[in-house]
C-alpha cells in the first residue's frame, strides 16, 4: 500500500507542478515561431534533440516529415498533450506495418513513408477551409 500511495502522491505533485508552471502553454496549440506566447517544454526538448543528437545520430527516420518535424507540427496544431500522444503514435507506427495504409514516396532519393500530421488526425480534426489550412489532402 505504501508504494501505491507514494506513486500516487508523486504523480499528483508532478502533475500539479507541470500544470502550474506550463498550464497555459500546454493546453493551447503552440503559436507560430514569430509569435511568442509561452514556453513549451516539449518543443524545447525536440529542439535539443534536433540541434545536438540528430546531427551525430544521423537521419534514420523512414517517414516524411521526420519524426522531430512531425512532433513540432503536431504540437503546433494540437497543443502539448495531443501533440505528445501523436508523437508517441508516430514513433510506434513508423515500421513496415505503416506501408500497408500510408503512401510510400521517393524523397531525396530515399524511399519514405508519407505520413504528415494530417494522416493521423483526419478522423477527428476538421480542417478549416476559411483559414486556408485545408490544403493538405491525402489519398
Amino acid at each position: 500500500m505504501g508504494t501505491v500511495k507514494r506513486l500516487t502522491s508523486t504523480f499528483l505533485v508532478l502533475g500539479l507542478l507541470i500544470l502550474g508552471f506550463y498550464g497555459k502553454a500546454l493546453a493551447e496549440p503552440v503559436s507560430p515561431p514569430d509569435e511568442k506566447r509561452g514556453f513549451n517544454p516539449a518543443l524545447w526538448l525536440v529542439s535539443l534533440y534536433r540541434d545536438h543528437v540528430s546531427p551525430i545520430d544521423g537521419d534514420r527516420c523512414p517517414s516524411l516529415p521526420t519524426c522531430s518535424s512531425y512532433s513540432v507540427q503536431a504540437m503546433e496544431r494540437h497543443g502539448f498533450f495531443l501533440g505528445w500522444m501523436m508523437t508517441v503514435d508516430r514513433l510506434l507506427h513508423e515500421g513496415q506495418d505503416e506501408t500497408k495504409v500510408s503512401p510510400v514516396v521517393y524523397y531525396e532519393g530515399k524511399r519514405v513513408i508519407f505520413d504528415p500530421v494530417r494522416n493521423n488526425d483526419f478522423w477527428w480534426y476538421q480542417l478549416d477551409a476559411t483559414k486556408g489550412n485545408a490544403h493538405e489532402r491525402l489519398p
Binding site: L7, F11, M85, L92, H93, V101
Partner: protein
C-alpha cells in the same frame, strides 16, 4: 619618295566629301518609307484565337500559363460574350494548380455577378467541386445542394446529385448514397453510371472494418489494440516499451528513487496514452484504406469539364474513359 594611296572619293586633304555623307540620311529616309511589313511581322489576334489558345494551353496541362492567356483575353476583349466563361475557366485553372482559395475568389465574383444565369450555376457547381477535390465534403455538399435547389432544370443538377452520391460514399453513408444515385435523371449521360453505383455502393457496408473503440479498449493491455488492427510488430513494440517503463518506474520506487520514479512514471503516462491513440488511429487508417480501395474499384469514368462555345454558351463536357 613613295606615294601614299588615297581613296577615290577622298579629297586630297583626307576628308570625306559632303556628297558622300548624304548617302546616310537618304538611306534612312528610304527605309522609313518602306511598308511596315517588310521590316517586321505584324499580327492581329482576334478574340476567337486568343480564347482558343488559352483553352489549348489549359488542355496541355499548363494551368498557370492558361490563366495568363485567359486574363489577356479579358483585358483585350472585355465585351466578349465569353467573359464569364473565361473567368470560370480561370477558376478551374487555379483548382488544377491546387490554389483553391484563388479559384474560389473568382467563383464568388462570378456567382454574385451572374446570379440566376447559367454562368452563376456553373460557378456554384465549381465551388462544390473545389471543396470536393480538397476532401472537405461537408462544404462541398452544401454547394451541390445549392445547385439542386436553385438550378433544378439544368443538366448541372444531375451532376450535382451525382457528386452528392460520391460525397455520401466518401463519408461512409452507403445506403444514402445508393438512394441518391437513383435520383440522377434518366436523360442524363450520367444515368447508367449512377444506376450502377446505386447497386454497388451498398457493398461498402460489408467491408471488414475494424472498430476503433474496440481497438482503444483492447489497448488497456498495450499492444493488443494494434494486434486487433493486424499491426503485430507495432503491437509488440508498444507492449515492450510500455512494459519496460512500467517496470522501471516500479523498480525506482522500490529503491526509494522517488524523483526518478516520478519522471519515469510521467513519461510512461504519455507513452501509455499515446498507445491508446495509436491503436484507435490504426483502426481508422485501416478503415480508410479499405474504403479507398473499394471506391477506387467503382466505376467513375466521368471527368466533368466546362467548355464555352463561340456564341458564348457554356457547356458541360463529360469525358468518358474506358
Amino acid at each position: 619618295m613613295p606615294q601614299k594611296a588615297m581613296p577615290m572619293n577622298a579629297s586630297p586633304s583626307g576628308h570625306i566629301p559632303f556628297k558622300s555623307l548624304l548617302v546616310i540620311p537618304v538611306t534612312l529616309v528610304a527605309l522609313l518609307l518602306l511598308p511596315g511589313h517588310t521590316l517586321c511581322a505584324q499580327i492581329t489576334i482576334d478574340s476567337d484565337e486568343q480564347f482558343r489558345f488559352a483553352e489549348q494551353t489549359m488542355e496541355k496541362g499548363d494551368p498557370l500559363r492558361a490563366i495568363v492567356e485567359f486574363e489577356r483575353f479579358l483585358q483585350f476583349f472585355p465585351e466578349d460574350k465569353r467573359v464569364p466563361n473565361a473567368r470560370l475557366l480561370i477558376a478551374q485553372c487555379y483548382m488544377k494548380a491546387k490554389d483553391y482559395e484563388s479559384g474560389r475568389k473568382i467563383l464568388n465574383e462570378v456567382m454574385n455577378g451572374y446570379k440566376g444565369t447559367l454562368a452563376g450555376g456553373k460557378a456554384l457547381f465549381l465551388m462544390g467541386e473545389s471543396y470536393y477535390e480538397q476532401g472537405l465534403y461537408e462544404e462541398a455538399e452544401r454547394y451541390f445542394r445549392g445547385v439542386v435547389a436553385v438550378y433544378p432544370e439544368l443538366e448541372l443538377k444531375n451532376s450535382a446529385v451525382y457528386r452528392i452520391g460520391w460525397i455520401q460514399m466518401q463519408t461512409g453513408k452507403w445506403h444514402e448514397a445508393s438512394e441518391t444515385f437513383k435520383n440522377v435523371g434518366a436523360g442524363s449521360p450520367l444515368f447508367s453510371n449512377a444506376q450502377d453505383l446505386s447497386a454497388k455502393s451498398l457493398g461498402g457496408e460489408l467491408l471488414p472494418y475494424k472498430d476503433p473503440p474496440t481497438a482503444g479498449v483492447l489497448s488497456v493491455v498495450p499492444g493488443l489494440g494494434h494486434a486487433y488492427c493486424e499491426r503485430y510488430k507495432d503491437g509488440l513494440v508498444a507492449f515492450l516499451l510500455n512494459g519496460l517503463f512500467i517496470w522501471a518506474t516500479i523498480e525506482a520506487f522500490h529503491e526509494d528513487q522517488e524523483v526518478l520514479g516520478g519522471i519515469l512514471g510521467f513519461v510512461e503516462l504519455g507513452l501509455y496514452s499515446g498507445t491508446f491513440y495509436s491503436a484507435v488511429n490504426s483502426a481508422h487508417k485501416h478503415n480508410r484504406k479499405l474504403k479507398n480501395d473499394f471506391l477506387q474499384g467503382l466505376p467513375d469514368p466521368v471527368d466533368l469539364k466546362i467548355f464555352a462555345t463561340k456564341e458564348g454558351h457554356i457547356g458541360l463536357a463529360l469525358k468518358f474513359t474506358f
